[in-house]
Symmetry: C2
Subunit: 214 residues, 2 copies
DNA sequence: GCGATGTATATTGTATACAGAATACTTCAC
DNA sequence: GTGAAGTATTCTGTATACAATATACATCGC
């Protein structure tokens, strides 16, 4: 056995599959071949299956008894459904966070929005993506509701899989500038402590995910 | 091996543990003993561990690498946090359902509210509990958002564990009558197609769960 | 008695074996 | 050639074995 890069082989498999789904090596509805994974990672079936079942619980795979695992398909309707749930919970998180956000956090968020504008203009979509995650995490973490933090995390994970850039980059640029405009608006609403405005704005902020991004 | 009451042994273990958590045989923070379960159910460790990992993903257990599984503790703060999330998503479900609820469903809901009043007065809390589940399921199922249906299901499962009745039944009766009053109000709001009213009412409808029920 | 050290025991993580079910592949009748 | 029937192969579910780690227990010095 080699150096223990991972705490457990199960986690190794988990990350490996999740990665493969994200980078489209594994396509929706495709069947998972246990033996293949075992051979690739040079491990046995036990940790592999444990990871597979966990991925199923986390909504990345489907499982049919006696016929194995397949990559979960996320059709447009499901993405839209999910974006509405995420948006609603983001709205809740924001409303809760209003009381706990200080100048420090608001300043950091402002810096992020500015940086994201640059990212987008420079077609630096990978950086944009990361910054955007941090931006939202900023206030979610201040919601003082651990269950909410965890729930949002899990929901977002379940469909963060398609990377952008597959389409026309100029079109993507225009769309993301609009999205970042919303980020700016969200920041203003935080300054104004406008809970209802935040809920309304965030509820539909994620609809874009459906086609353009992630 | 005996008659296959369960499709797989893994599912058997899953249900067994979930049950034991609900009926308080397994208490919060208590350590899970793999070997004990295996012996009790006369099966091997492989399906047992698979179930254990799944229960962890489903938030019923905690897992620490190299030191096993424990029953997840749900302190009052976490329950309150969760009730707010459930309430918010119930509000979303209700708002979405408004357009799809016909006289048939509204009639059935009315019947349920009346029946629940009887259940409560007769200290028939088990029936009340079941009816209440159906009442809420009624409109959730009409939200036309499968992801939401599944998410709510999973969130509710994660803390439906303590049964009521441990306290003074007369106090419980009074509290549940108030809760059922809210059910009646919710029904009125559906008739009025008042989405905002539904969202507001449902958001805090579940706070009671914290102490009194479930 | 109290804490440190070493040893025994139990528990966890992983590999492997094997039976039964599902799937793929042949063969054959028509 | 097409479809049914039977056989071979692969894959899934479960049991078991074993090494590595963690925990419990006992011993010893102070």
């Amino acid at each position: 056995m080699q150096a223990p890069k991972y705490q457990s082989l199960k986690d190794h498999v988990y990350d490996y599959i999740a990665q493969r789904i994200q980078d489209q090596t594994l396509l929706p509805n495709q069947k998972i071949n246990e033996a293949e994974i075992c051979k690739k990672l040079e491990i046995s079936r036990t940790p592999t299956r444990e990871a597979l079942f966990q991925l199923t619980s986390d909504n990345l795979l489907d499982y049919l008894p006696r016929r194995g695992f397949t990559v979960k398909a996320f059709d447009p309707k499901k993405k839209l459904d999910l974006s509405l749930i995420i948006g609603t919970l983001e709205g809740l998180a924001a409303a809760l966070a209003v009381e706990h956000l200080g100048d420090k956090e608001l300043g950091a968020m402002k810096a992020l929005v500015d940086k994201m504008d640059n990212d987008i203009s420079n077609h630096n979509f990978t950086d944009y993506y990361k910054d955007q995650v941090v931006f939202h995490k900023m206030y979610i973490d201040k919601s003082n509701n651990d269950v909410l933090i965890e729930t949002l995390n899990s929901l977002k994970n379940s469909f963060i899989r398609q990377s952008y850039g597959s389409e026309d980059p100029d079109r993507l640029m225009r769309v993301l500038h609009i999205v970042n405009g919303e980020h700016r608006k969200i920041l203003d609403l935080f300054h104004a402590k406008d809970k209802q405005g935040l809920e309304e704005t965030l509820k539909y902020h994620w609809r874009i995910i459906d086609n353009e991004m992630l």
